[in-house]
């Protein structure tokens, strides 16, 4: 029968269409990182590199968390915690890298509110951060190596711009 053959053909074509799906890999957007840039406290327009910068997350427990960054750089990008309103980091510098006794650790916490944004089918939802505020834990005695924190862009929507200036 001509028609039976045609029906079979229609069925096979229909099935082959239903199996076609685009590979779902998220490349569109990502939850942004908070970008810190280091400036000279004396001359606030000049970028100043931090020697032997080590950054760790602090989660309120006594356990020392893994290192996020261990570099000598003028800029560092840090992940915030989307499910909490604050994220704390320990930033340490060592002016004389050969001597571990000269390490100076400062605690910096950021508070923010989280907005959940739908990006695409593959990515689903990501977090953006609003009203970011930086807070330095003041130390007595030896003192802080960080002198001042200034949030210049409180809306964190991408990782390509500097959100926070740190003066030292």
């Amino acid at each position: 029968m001509r028609l039976t053959k045609f029906i079979l053909l229609v069925g096979i074509i229909g099935l082959s269409f239903s199996a076609c799906e685009k590979d779902d890999i998220c490349v569109d957007r990502d939850t942004p990182l908070l970008v810190l840039e280091f400036f000279d406290f004396e001359n606030r327009e000049i970028v100043k590199e931090v020697s032997t910068l080590v950054v760790r997350g602090v989660d309120g427990t006594t356990t020392e968390l893994a290192i996020i960054a261990n570099i000598s750089a003028s800029s560092v990008a840090l992940p915030l915690r989307p499910n909490l309103g604050t994220t704390e980091f320990s930033l340490s510098q060592n002016p004389t890298p050969s001597d571990t006794a000269t390490v100076n650790v400062d605690l910096v916490s950021f508070s923010y509110s989280t907005t959940e944004i739908f990006v695409s089918r593959a990515c689903g939802f990501i977090a953006n951060y609003n009203t970011v505020d930086g807070n330095l834990t003041i130390e007595t005695g030896e003192g802080n190596w960080i002198k001042d924190i200034e949030v210049i862009i409180p809306e964190v929507e991408n990782s390509n711009e500097t959100h926070v200036k740190i003066y030292h």
């Binding site: 229609v10 997350g57 689903g124």
Partner: protein, 249 residues
């Protein structure tokens, strides 16, 4: 019946001699006077594939009624009315899309039926409208930085989010087939390619599955669907098929 017919032939025999005497010339090209009547009416049916998928797939519920009305030898007005609900699990979120749709258009039968056949291979078009609700049941936030949550992604705080009252329209090109299994009972199938007229990238969350239209592909307005229907023709009247003019020899 047969008895009377045969008797009638005998009756005709009486006139045979007469008739031949009266008309001296014999018509070598007699006109074909047989009349071929075809049924016209309303055909209604149901989509079998959606019923089957409802039975087999616990994340799917669907029902579609199909109908058409014959206008002329080859042209039919046709429509579909349906309701679908589908739960889709993506990598980091699960959502439900549910709603109703209506499609209306025409089918043109391209199939040259032999005497007595009522089959169809059709090309057609539809204009369709769907109204639906898309809700996110649970979701996690995508973050390629795995420092704070190395094992899993953070669960979104918003809980179930519902986007209701969405309306989308689209047009469809349809290739279909209908075969008469028994008298007035038809088995059919169709493949459809739809083009969305409305933008599926809604604010809040894109429309990812539109009932009636099927899956929406990222950054594309095209969609593919199909159905397999069983339908019954309610014959309303019969109409004589016009003779096709034979090309002159």
């Amino acid at each position: 019946m047969l008895r009377y017919t045969i008797s009638a032939f005998f009756l005709l025999c009486l006139f045979l001699g007469n008739a031949q005497e009266k008309s001296k010339t014999i018509d070598l090209n007699p006109k074909d006077t047989t009349v071929y009547k075809q049924p016209y009416g309303l055909r209604v049916g149901i989509d079998l594939s959606r019923l089957l998928q409802t039975a087999l797939d616990e994340d799917y519920q669907g029902l579609e009624f199909v109908g058409d009305y014959r206008l002329s030898q080859k042209l039919y007005v046709t429509g579909e009315l349906g309701n679908e609900k589908k739960i889709i699990q993506e990598d980091l979120y699960e959502f439900t899309s549910s709603g109703s749709y209506f499609k209306a258009g025409v089918d043109y039968n391209t199939y040259g039926n032999w005497y007595g056949e009522q089959n169809m291979i059709t090309l057609g078009g539809r204009f369709a409208v769907g109204n639906f609700t898309q809700s996110v049941n649970e979701y996690q936030l995508f973050d390629s930085n795995r420092y704070w949550n190395a094992a899993d992604f953070v669960t979104g705080a918003g809980g179930p989010i519902e986007f209701s009252g969405r309306t989308k329209s689209w047009i469809e090109g349809v290739v279909g087939i209908k075969m008469e299994l028994f008298k007035n009972l038809y088995l059919g199938g169709s493949i459809r390619m739809g083009i969305l007229l409305s933008d599926p990238q809604d604010e809040g969350m894109w429309s990812l599955f539109i009932p009636g239209f099927n899956r929406v592909t990222d950054n594309s307005r095209f969609g593919v669907g199909y159905n397999y229907s069983i339908s019954y023709l309610i014959p309303l009247y019969k109409k004589v098929k016009k003779k096709e003019e034979l090309p002159e020899e």
